[in-house]
Amino acid sequence: MQALTTEQIRAVIARGKLRDNIFKAMGIFCLALALIVIVALVADMVMKGSERFTLDFFLNFASRRATQAGILSAWVGSLLVMLVTALAAVPLGVAAGLYLEEYAKRNWLTNVIEINISNLAAVPSIVYGLLALGIFVYQFGFGQSIMSAGLTLALLILPIIIVSTREAIRAIPAMIREGSMAVGATRWQTCRYHIVPYAMPGILTGVIIGLARAIGETAPIITIGALTFIAFLPPAPFTTLGDGSTAGLFDWVFAPFTVMPIQIFNWTSRPDPAFEVNAAAAGFVLMAMVLSMNAVAIWLRYKMRKNIKW
């Protein structure tokens, strides 16, 4: 083999650098494309919807007049449904993930469960809607209520939470477990004081990703019968109702409702073009809701990571 001259070596290095730069440029281009799309989308909604960003828009109910129509019932509905979803899905999902990772023996049954959980994450959301219509709405008699919607979306995001919980737990070094057990902790104590707290940042990320998906879902909510026109809020606990009785602590759970995506969908399909402004404004609000949920997740993760001392 012939030794390379300095020029040749330089040429090889230059070629390598060029390839490097081309790849870098491609990467930046892809990133920019994604960012431009999202910025354009948000900018478009803000520009179209800007005239509706008033306090009234948030405090008014739906109306046939575009300028008076607001999103009160929609954003309250979305928040309450998310609350039920989180309350149902988080304990179940985290417990399931913890069990599968820390307690369950590896055998064909857990393998089947594992495969099914991954498969469930890919099931189209409308299928969950159909299932929920049969089970929650009719079988359990929850009706077309916040309860039914919340549980439906909880089912939908359960696989996401389980999978991210397991991944977060798997990332904890085995020596933590061993150390804990070595000083005499039971399996439960190990989980309670070490595994779950250390896995919390990862679990939270999964929870928020799940909730962010759930808040934008329309299909299953329509299937179980969310309403389009609803000009009242679910009864707040301990307030006086129309018939003079007092609302119970959980009456709101069984109240009829609507959510943001349905309101947006309704506005875009109306004959009067003035409603497009409302749809754009509501779209931006929904986006802001998702982004602020993500922001909370990032903040929580950051805070919790700081507290972990291995």
Binding site: A62, S63, R64, V84, L87, A88, V90, P91, F140, G141, F142, G143, M147, V196, G225, A226, L227, T228, F229, I230, A231, F232, P235, L241, G242, D243, S245, A247, G248, L249, F250, D251, V253, F254, A255, P256, N266, T268, S269, R270, P271, D272, P273
Partner: protein, 333 residues
């Protein structure tokens, strides 16, 4: 720790769920059904709640005419919006569940055939011409305007129409092709009429159809095509007057609200129906539908008072019924 308290409250929610707390459902008038009738019912519901200072609550969903009747016959709703009369199958379902109802026509809609405003060659069309364009046999064959009428140019036809699940599709195909739901498939179909509005307004060679309200709100972007009535005579463009006179044929159709007889015993439902009929004429016009004559609404109230149960259509959808004929039939009941 907050995870603990979350778990506790989740259990509490589940507990309440199991031991039933369905009490808070009093005083709600529940309505579902057609998206075509929705704007009218929504307007009435909005005004009604205002007039009652929110003492009575009204909810309106859009499950479509068929979906609405399903819930109605399962005894889940008090009123059902319908863009066509109740069918035989639905009548049987309701009967089996012991649900009796009173039929109330609330307005007329004019299905509007629209073209691009820059289209200069189309001044009118006959039902036969529209059929030649839309029938299933035209699929993949009738692709140019001059294939339908030699006087029209040698330019491609771009078709826009309602999606197969809508009552509009059902009515248009029955009125134009002669058989409900029989249509060519190679056209741009959408359940969202605004997609159709956009499509037709951007293409000179486009033609489409949808409810009058969408045309009325977009008159600057679209042109309504006058239709030659099947019985002959001059072509008629859709308008309130033409519908009232019964000359816009065969694409005028009545739309309905069905109310459950049992629900009328609840004072809030009765009050809502009375409010509906008293204000329908004004609100119908506001949302761009054609109101019925005043005595149609008083007639409906009369039926409510005398509890006249059933339909005047016998489970059949009819094409080209005029307001006058409808009124005669309702009166005979």
């Amino acid at each position: 720790m907050f995870k603990h308290s979350k778990l506790v409250s989740a259990l509490a929610v589940a507990g309440v769920a199991l031991f039933g707390a369905q009490a808070a459902q009093a005083q709600i008038v529940k309505i579902d059904g057609s998206s075509t009738v929705y704007p009218i019912t929504e307007a009435v519901a909005e005004e009604f709640q205002k007039a009652k200072k929110n003492a009575i609550k009204v909810t309106v969903g859009i499950s479509g005419t068929g979906g609405g009747f399903k819930k109605f016959c399962r005894d889940e709703t008090d009123l059902s919006n319908a863009s066509r009369p109740i069918t035989k199958k639905e009548m049987e379902d309701c009967k089996a569940a012991g649900v009796e109802y009173i039929e109330m026509p609330v307005a007329f809609d004019a299905l509007t055939v629209v073209i691009n405003p820059k289209n200069t060659f189309l001044k009118e069309a006959t039902v036969a011409e529209l059929k030649a364009l839309w029938e299933p046999a035209a699929q993949g064959k009738v692709m140019k305007w001059n294939q339908v009428n030699p006087a029209w140019p040698d330019a491609p036809v771009k078709l826009f129409g309602a999606g197969a699940d809508s009552g509009t599709f059902e009515y248009f195909t029955e009125a134009i092709v002669g058989k409900a739901k029989s249509s060519r498939g190679d056209y741009t179909a959408s359940e969202d009429d605004n997609v159709l509005v956009q499509g037709v307004s951007r293409d000179v060679n486009a033609i489409g159809y949808f409810g009058y309200a969408y045309y009325a709100e977009n008159m600057n972007k679209l042109k309504a095509l006058p239709i030659v009535p099947p019985k002959g005579g001059a072509a008629v463009a859709p308008s309130e007057q033409a519908v009232i006179k019964g000359t816009y044929q065969p694409l005028s159709r009545p739309i309905f609200v069905y109310v459950k007889a049992k629900s009328l015993q609840k004072p809030e439902v009765k009050e809502f129906v009375e409010f509906y009929m008293k204000n329908a004429a004004k609100l119908t016009k506001e949302v761009k539908y054609v109101p019925l004559p005043d005595n149609a609404y008083t007639g409906n109230l009369e039926h409510v008072k005398k509890n006249k149960i059933g339909t005047v259509f016998g489970g059949q959808n009819e094409v080209g019924i005029t307001i006058e004929e409808l009124m005669k039939r309702e009166a005979k009941m």
